[in-house]
């Protein structure tokens, strides 16, 4: 039984070499897709129940089917911005299993009738982008990209595009603005990218891991994909980027439905907490997370999009940051707020001003220079930002603030005076 669907390079050495990839059934999914009707490809992805791995968990096949067929050309854009603190999975895929990802881009492009696809990488992935450029050339030479692919009348070009240091460009409409040569600021939605995306043309934006899951689905069928792992509503495997106060941080591919306990304490995975300290909280989705109280109920929660919500969090991009008893929440939120204040694109006032004020108050609390009223003010400001911002970043900036004050009040009360 295969253990990995995404991190296959961990079992197969040199999988990032095209001859090795070909020997390991590489491009079988794409070859099969090219013989299928485009709608049938989309239907297979729908049937597999694949959900977007970039954070929102939106059903991938459904998104593809939204592409406006009365407006051409169509584009596919791979989101390789990967800037959420705690997330480092897409980089491993692109470095070590690049052809599976590129095959996914190709299948998606074929399914929605795109002849050009862009891969948007955060600027810091400078070396990864150059590496992918080489891999794209190799794929073209092997007849899997370019004109008349595999003797069909289908043509496809894939290009990389480097960002330049802005977390907000991971938000799909900001990303599209950025490719268009503008400042990366989110657009008002609707319209959504499948109706008007890049250059105002219908565009599918998918995360690297989402696209990398597609070749298996097409090559083996939706049923086999569901058998590989996961639950009815959250099928398949997922890469968990595990970091923070664990013994063995790193990427771990597990079936959706595994538990936090397996991931964090399993010998093969996190291996438990540094110095065997006590676990205190879990941030399941990077800096944007709610802080989940790490009690037995939470630890035994299945890692699915639905179940994590039950314990007051979101699976998001599954960037699990582990917090132990040595960490104080008032410090933690100075970190998350410093991130969001830095990354707010400034387009809407509640986010621009809110992140600035929250950061300032949190720093005063952490320094022991704030009163109880300041703490209430911080909670208040966070609540007021919620629901009032143009994109989700504003909302993200409040999650750790609100949940840490509500769920770990003692950490804050110890710091403020009357």
């Amino acid at each position: 039984m295969m253990k990995y669907m995404l991190l296959r390079h961990r079992e197969i050495p040199n999988l990032n070499q095209i001859d090795v990839f070909l020997k390991e059934d590489g491009f079988e999914g794409f070859k099969k897709a090219l013989k299928m009707d485009t709608n049938a490809v989309t239907d297979e992805v729908k049937a597999a129940g694949l959900r977007g791995r970039g954070g929102a968990g939106f059903p991938t096949g459904v998104k593809w089917s939204f592409m406006d067929k009365n407006n051409w050309p169509h584009y596919v854009v791979a989101n390789a911005d990967e800037s959420e603190p705690g997330t480092f999975k897409d980089r491993e895929i692109m470095e070590s299993n690049p052809f599976q990802f590129l095959e996914g881009v190709a299948i998606a492009s074929y399914a929605v009738g795109a002849n050009v696809a862009y891969i948007y990488l955060r600027g810091e992935f400078w070396e990864v982008a150059h590496f992918l450029d080489e891999k794209i050339d190799e794929m073209e030479k092997a007849g899997f990209l370019g004109e008349n692919i595999q003797g069909t009348d289908y043509s496809l070009k894939i290009y990389t595009h480097l960002g330049a240091g802005a977390y907000i460009c991971g938000e799909e409409t900001a990303l599209l603005e950025s490719i268009e040569g503008k400042r990366g600021q989110p657009r008002v939605r609707p319209p959504f990218p499948p109706s008007q995306g890049l250059y105002n043309k219908p565009t599918v934006v998918n995360n690297v891991e989402t696209l990398s899951s597609v070749p298996y689905i097409i090559a083996n069928g939706a049923d086999r994909y569901r058998e590989f792992g996961g639950t009815e509503k959250s099928p398949g495997t997922k890469i968990f980027s595990l970091s923070g106060r664990v013994k063995n941080p790193g990427n771990y591919e597990l079936p959706l439905g595994s538990t936090f306990r397996e991931l964090i304490f399993g010998e093969e995975y996190g291996g438990g907490i540094i110095d065997d300290k006590k676990i205190k909280a879990i941030m399941p989705a990077g800096a944007s997370s709610s802080l989940i109280v790490a009690d037995d109920k939470a630890l035994d929660t299945p890692l699915t999009y639905e179940d994590v919500r039950e314990v007051g969090g979101d699976l998001g991009s599954a960037s699990v940051i582990v917090i132990d008893e040595t960490v104080e929440m008032d410090w933690l939120i100075t970190k998350t707020l410093s991130f969001f204040a830095h990354e707010s694109c400034g387009k809407c006032t509640p986010c621009r001003e809110g992140t600035y004020w929250m950061k300032a108050i949190s720093e005063r609390i952490h320094a022991g220079e704030a009163t109880k009223a300041d703490l209430e003010l911080l909670h208040d400001v966070a609540k007021q930002v919620q629901g009032k911002t143009l994109c989700a970043l504003g909302e993200f900036s409040t999650m750790a603030v609100v949940t840490s004050i509500e769920r770990f009040p003692e950490d804050f009360e110890a710091k403020v005076y009357e």
């Binding site: 603190p85 997330t87 810091e124 480097l162 330049a164 802005a166 923070g244 941080p249 990427n251 933690l332």
Partner: protein
Amino acid sequence: MSLAEKYPQEVEKILAKYPPEHKKSAVMPLLYLAMREEGYITKADKADIAKLLDMTTTEVSSIVGFYTLFHDEKAGKYRLQVCTDIGCALRGAEQYLAELSDELGIKPGETTPDGLVTLEEVKCLAACDKAPMFQVQSGEGIQYHEKMTVGATLELIETLRKEAK
């Protein structure tokens, strides 16, 4: 000399990535190209790129201002950018930066007297499991250095110093 004169093939290759009616898309790759030699973008570069892409110089400047990896001021030849964001901070990055800063005798934001290294503090670089870590940005690109110690960092700086001579 304009970018198109200096790097004709590369400019052509960059422009070919985007539909001709949307050549503005080439602004970011061209800005990287402009930084190659000196590590920062000059006024002349901005005007040059604006002309090439039918943009205004103000538009190009606003792009430079928005993205943190574009620089229009001279700094050290190498920008050593240490991540102290949440994941790395939970694994000792702040202490690492403080020690490194002591050893180099410069604070984050400052440059070594010989103009070789500017020390900077940055947000998450997608390597949170390999803290302490930093990237080195120069005109030629960006390289990651992971699971670092202060000692190994000082050695790397020595190597860069020799190469720069």
